[in-house]
Symmetry: C2
Subunit: 488 residues, 2 copies
Amino acid sequence: MENLTMLTDLYQLTMMQGYFINGYRDKEAVFDVFFRSLPFDGGYALAAGLEQVVEFIENLRFREEDLAYLKSLNIFQDDFLEELRHFQFTGDIDAIQEGTPVFPYEPIMRVKGRILETQLLETAILNLVNFETLIATKASRVAAAAGRGPVMEFGLRRAQGPDAGTLGARAAFIGGCQSTSNILAGERYGIPVSGTQAHSWVQCFPSELEAFRAYARTFPDNCLLLVDTYSALESGVPNAIKVGLELEAEGYHFQGIRIDSGDLTYLSKKARRMLDEAGLTKAIIVGSNDLDEETIFSIRAQGAAIDAWGVGTHLITSKDSPSLGGVYKLAAEGENGVFHPRLKVSENISKITNPGIKKVVRFYDRAGKAMADLIALEDELFSERKSLTIFDPIQTWKRKTLVNFRTRELLMPIFRKGKLVYQLPSLMDIQKYSRQELDTFWDEVKRLANPHRYIVDLSPKLYDLKQQLLLTIHNEIKSNQNQNQEEE
Amino acid sequence: MENLTMLTDLYQLTMMQGYFINGYRDKEAVFDVFFRSLPFDGGYALAAGLEQVVEFIENLRFREEDLAYLKSLNIFQDDFLEELRHFQFTGDIDAIQEGTPVFPYEPIMRVKGRILETQLLETAILNLVNFETLIATKASRVAAAAGRGPVMEFGLRRAQGPDAGTLGARAAFIGGCQSTSNILAGERYGIPVSGTQAHSWVQCFPSELEAFRAYARTFPDNCLLLVDTYSALESGVPNAIKVGLELEAEGYHFQGIRIDSGDLTYLSKKARRMLDEAGLTKAIIVGSNDLDEETIFSIRAQGAAIDAWGVGTHLITSKDSPSLGGVYKLAAEGENGVFHPRLKVSENISKITNPGIKKVVRFYDRAGKAMADLIALEDELFSERKSLTIFDPIQTWKRKTLVNFRTRELLMPIFRKGKLVYQLPSLMDIQKYSRQELDTFWDEVKRLANPHRYIVDLSPKLYDLKQQLLLTIHNEIKSNQNQNQEEE
């Protein structure tokens, strides 16, 4: 990935200069990355994007042309630009591993360091984590709907720019896709690539049959024929069967057909019968054309004879929910490693942040199923030998007592004092890990529509801290108001 | 932009190898880039992305590591990989200029050359043109809703990856945004950048008032204060007024405030009154928080006192319509410069393509207003001295006779025999050109909801060619079917 140091909002740099010249050069801060609601009205999200965040941070460096550009804006002082020239990240980052199911308000990443450094990182971290988490989650839903039928990602032409196509293919693989059509993603991330031919191939030959034969000659071992250029049932499937039988007669295995338009249920059932009657019972049928998890679910429920799915636009753009609202919020500030918890108030109760340096603890029952997550302060311990009563932070009367549990802390050390201390897993391993992690959740949490809401509560200690800070801020505002009124 | 040669679908390369070894190495083809329906149920789209397509083509080159990766897939022959090693684009490209209002089925780009070359380009061209055209169109709607109030694009953190943020900022500027928060976009494309401070700035100081004063000290000429960290009306606005008056007392102009949550109509009206009563009548109010063209339209209609708008997620992801379905379809194939028109049939009438090498002609009335577009064959001429009767290609009884018109051809030569022959305009000039072009359209075509459908017809000659080819294909399918039945 190229150097993304300048991939940030101007206000990060104006704030940085503000801190720099107002005596806050060594002020330290802790920021949390989290989202407030699940996309797709779903039951979970899959964390993704950490590898790109690591690359971004490892490549952080303002180039001379960047500094020249910033100087040209006439708002930055020379001594601040000089500070940027030597800029690097020297802080700590903790993160939840890619592929882990995560839930609203959980810090999926925690960034701690000099405010000058932590502030700069906000925009690029959110950009990368928001997008990849969104697409991994969408892909996980699509793969779930497809059941055992593999899903091929091929949305590059409709992706929101080159990176969206390539990072999207990576995230889609984490979420359970089997391959991508995007060869740059294949080259860069080792994702298996797939693809055969387009309608234009068929149109370029004097006839569909000649086009199919030419393809079979070129790729006899990997011959999947697109049958709907002229008419799937009247022309495409009969011609594909001819060529398939010719291939089989020469000792090759004929792979099958792809249908890319029309009523996939009807056409696939008809095509299946035609293939079977010709003896091509092992030839597969790939379905594509504007698919998403709902259409796949519905097409399967109707008994369509589709063995594999090509999914494009809806997956790569996450069409029904094209953004994840991940935020980067100040949780604490301090100096020399001593931190004070901070929160942001809002009229909207869901926008009030959780203060302090926090961690995420996942509680499992003895069968290994996830029961609940707790957002807790970093120094809290939860003994597996005692019972624990947790409660909903808004509807506090909703209580649950956990007994006989095992706990696991989800945040892992990624950077320490600016040094990478985390071994990035391979993409294959992330996909496998993610599947195992999803297995620890009940099906009710994972179902596509109206899932059961997984419990994420605040630890009693964090809850108390939050209430106390809210009260302090409320009192301060009131006392300032009174003071203002007296002055008037 | 980096080398995007590998940003393509595997099937482009498998087809290329197929052409290569089936005697079609020098076959030539013409492809059209067009979309079938307008996003947002709107009345127009703004073409964008041409500059990135030019860069992509100028940088086309398979690197040694790309060839090694392709070889590792074990599906490509050495002689084909050798062909790729020397790959370059040697054909012609015509395109409609960026910023031009365009409509369904119009070729906004036309690519002509050896099929080996033209096929490879499909995916990246669609990726770039689809996304930028979508965002330019969305931005144009947002800017229209905002009226005279400038729109600042600041969606980078929610964009679908780094390129989406940066190319999206470029496209948003074409569509009429005044600035972006994204400094990489500012550096790369010369877009004005804007931004001041975040909630975290306010939280990092012992009090909001101290935070505001520190910011004013740092940027006395450019002091726009974010007032909703604790409570906009009870704390933020009163503190901003204090600092604003202090600045004005020192001879500076206090820029104003930004409100980023809550009821923007109510809060802006209240804040306006408070600022005015304090004598800060020139201080502006910026509104932000999940805005799009509809909310801006509605907030303005309610009489909100907002002078400028910050628009993020909805614009940069085109949230209500996150993909443009642009396609790249074969229009003709041939050899040695002699071409045969081709079309793709579909059960869905809207998916049947227009055959032949085509152009787009825009007809203006004497007052300079656009009346209709005609998709025509390249060699057709339309005399401005005669009247012309055009008709809807589906509802052919819908006819209109044009008299006293001026015509303009929209496709411009971009590449000739692989050489760039087009002078890329500056982004500022594209924005200006786009505004002028939009002025040639009636307001009814441009309105946000239920716009009047602008007329785009086929020339009689193109219409006849299409009907004739459809008939030929239909007859061929039937005769093949009969033949198959006789064989059985």
